[in-house]
């Protein structure tokens, strides 16, 4: 049965901040120039590793939002600031109740909870200001962003680990297409914390020298931190449109991908189907591409099967590190930049490409017309999301 394509939704504002820079302009400038933001770090004093740390100390939130003060909230509000005027215009035009908020994060305020636990272990009491509700829980991020923007529509955090903010964008699409909201601020944020630094180390998934997705020499991932946001609307215009958001579950393993990439293929095909787009119409794939031996091989095979082996594919984890809950939205912003500026970023660290990988990894930057980008995000629990962004509806 033929399926009618769903309406495309304009991205009317977007922003990203991470190891590449605090503003979207600086982030995209570094992406185009092929500069990495990864550096050696002792963020975990017990283990030196290569990380994508936020490039400056993030500023505290305004006094009225101090109850939510965490590194997550600081980075989020600092990055969000450049599109606050666009959000305020949407709130004024549509009404605060018709603007929704869906954010993705995997760790929330757990960095502050770790610090609080350490203080309690050492001194027997939690630090002043620690709040389970406002700082530890995901609700703190919601409260801070609501407070800064005036959004009063439905609001929730989607937490599906590394696909969280991609799923937030997929959820925003549902809120708009169902008529529940007229605009949705969606995106995500995550910070470096001991839980993820040591958790991924326990999985033996951390690269000693920095991630090299799709390379023959890849030996693991690099973690990063940052935030990215998109304002999606039912009506309007922008540099890019959300054409589809495919979702699937691997139903296979908590932390390993399905060996044949079944869930990845389902998500990519779902996105294409929603847009009514033939796979030959995809101009570029921003891969999940974490740099672990197993994940990249499975994803490459799945991409090849869905869109063929000639579409240029890049992983941007070599620039920012794996941003976990912020990855999907950040890479959606990269996809928008590819469309708006006509380039495919180099897949940093990919040379020499693993000979077992048959897809066209972009080992250098490509200048070309990019009208559609598939952007993949896969996660623990087999939670897969593939976003399809395009130059027009």
């Amino acid at each position: 049965m033929a399926v009618s394509p769903s309406p495309a939704l304009p991205v009317t504002a977007h922003c990203a901040g991470n190891a590449l820079g605090v503003t979207t302009l600086s982030v995209i400038g570094a992406l185009e120039a092929g500069r990495t933001g990864l550096r050696r770090s002792l963020a975990d004093p017990a283990h030196e590793m290569v990380l994508g740390e936020f490039p400056c100390p993030p500023e505290p939130p305004p006094a009225a939002l101090r109850a939510f003060d965490t590194r997550l909230v600081r980075i989020s509000l600092m990055v969000l600031e450049e599109i606050v005027p666009a959000i305020e215009r949407a709130v004024a035009r549509l009404g605060a109740d018709r603007v929704a908020l869906v954010l993705g994060t995997s760790t929330g305020g757990i960095r502050e909870s770790e610090e609080a636990f350490a203080a309690w272990s050492a001194q027997g009491s939690l630090p002043a200001g620690f709040s389970l509700v406002n700082r530890h829980s995901f609700n703190g991020l919601l409260g801070a962003v609501r407070g800064r923007t005036g959004i009063r529509g439905p609001g929730y955090v989607v937490a599906t680990a590394c696909s969280s903010s991609a799923e937030a964008i997929a959820t925003a699409r549902r809120l708009l297409l169902s008529g529940t909201a007229d605009a949705v601020l969606c995106g995500g944020a995550d910070t470096l914390c001991t839980t993820t630094l040591r958790g991924f180390r326990s999985l033996e998934a951390i690269s000693p020298g920095g991630c090299r997705p799709f390379s023959a020499g890849r030996d693991g991932l690099s973690l990063g931190e940052g935030a990215a946001f998109l304002l999606l609307e039912r009506e309007g215009n922008g540099p890019a449109w959300l054409l589809g958001a495919g979702e699937s579950s691997d139903a296979y393993h908590m932390s390993h991908p399905h060996p044949e990439g079944l869930g990845a293929r389902l998500a990519m095909r779902d996105a294409l189907s929603q847009a009514g787009l033939d796979p030959s119409g995809v101009d570029h794939v921003n891969a999940h591409g974490t740099g672990t031996p197993a994940n990249d091989g499975v994803e490459a095979a799945a991409i090849g099967e869905v869109v063929g082996n000639r579409v240029p594919v890049a992983s941007t984890k070599g620039y920012t590190g794996h941003l976990l809950g912020a990855a999907g939205a950040t890479e959606a912003v990269f996809a928008i930049a590819s469309i708006a500026r006509g380039f495919v970023p180099a897949s940093l660290g990919a040379t020499p490409v693993d000979p077992a990988i048959a897809i066209a990894i972009a080992t250098g930057p490509l200048r070309q017309r990019v009208r559609t980008v598939l952007s993949n995000s896969f996660a623990f629990g087999g939670a897969n999301v593939s976003l399809l962004l395009g130059a027009g509806p």
Binding site: L132, N139, A159, T160, L177, F200, G382
Partner: protein, 253 residues
């Protein structure tokens, strides 16, 4: 607009063995752990207590409504998630260079119950995992309502929280408890009620036992009690006030 029907309910708490006990406030002997028969033994052993509670209530709701869980996505809502795993890891970190076990690490992610259930049921439809503070039950129901509008069929909404361990939580603040609603788009076998989309507004606040009233997902237990009593009209998913969220319950059919 499609009509959405509540086709099944599942409930697990250590003290109330079923919906009737919840409605009548007649606690039974304390139960140690949910059976979670939905999970294969190997998965059950690796999963945490919150995940097992979710599996138990999803299994109950699906059984009542006759749902095929291999084709039924779950919307999972929890205010705090599996904090026992997160705090266990913090204890290891306080020992210096300690690393968590890989299982504890992946059990700490918010979507661990969704992952484990998808493995158990073979369902490859995406199952969202969400949190929204006190609005978590309302937002989970809204998310499921939108999924049903998009895809049709059935979806199960599961809401659960476990006590937050010391030192982050207060001992005895609330007990582990979970509740699930099997929702169906369109007509089918007889259901408990039709349910509208969550929206802002005032509604009744159905009574529930005091120990569940303190649970972070208390409005979901109130909704289960209302459905079990055959209550109709606006039911609050918050404190009953007009700024909160509510749903309309109507006769099935």
């Amino acid at each position: 607009m499609r009509s959405i029907h509540v086709a099944g309910i599942g409930l697990w708490t250590p003290r109330y063995p079923g919906l009737a006990a919840l409605v009548d406030d007649t606690p039974g002997p304390a139960a140690a752990s949910p059976p979670a028969a939905l999970l294969p033994p190997a998965v059950r052993r690796r999963s945490g207590p919150l995940c097992r509670a979710v599996a138990e209530v999803v299994g109950q709701a699906a059984a009542e409504g006759g749902a095929d869980l291999s084709r039924t996505p779950m919307v999972y809502g929890s205010v705090y998630g599996e904090t026992s795993a997160a705090v266990e890891m913090m204890g290891a970190f306080a020992q210096g260079e300690g690393l968590p076990s890989p299982t504890t690490f992946h059990n700490s992610v918010h979507n661990a119950p969704a992952g484990y259930l998808s493995i158990a049921t073979g369902c490859r439809i995406f199952s969202p995992s969400i949190a929204a503070g006190p609005e978590t039950p309302a937002m989970a129901l809204l998310d499921a309502w939108m999924l049903l509008l998009q895809r049709g069929g059935e979806a199960v909404v599961a809401l659960a929280d476990e006590p937050v361990p010391v030192p982050l939580g207060v001992p005895g603040a609330f007990l582990i408890a979970a509740v699930a609603f099997l929702l169906r788009a369109g007509p089918g076998r007889p259901a408990r009620a039709r349910i509208g989309a969550p929206r802002r507004g005032a509604g009744a606040v159905p009574p529930i036992p005091a120990e569940l009233a303190l649970h972070p997902c208390a409005p979901a237990f109130r909704l289960a009690a209302a459905l079990a009593r055959g209550q109709r009209g606006a039911v609050s998913l918050g404190d009953g006030g007009p700024d909160g969220w509510m749903v309309e319950l109507a006769e099935d059919g």
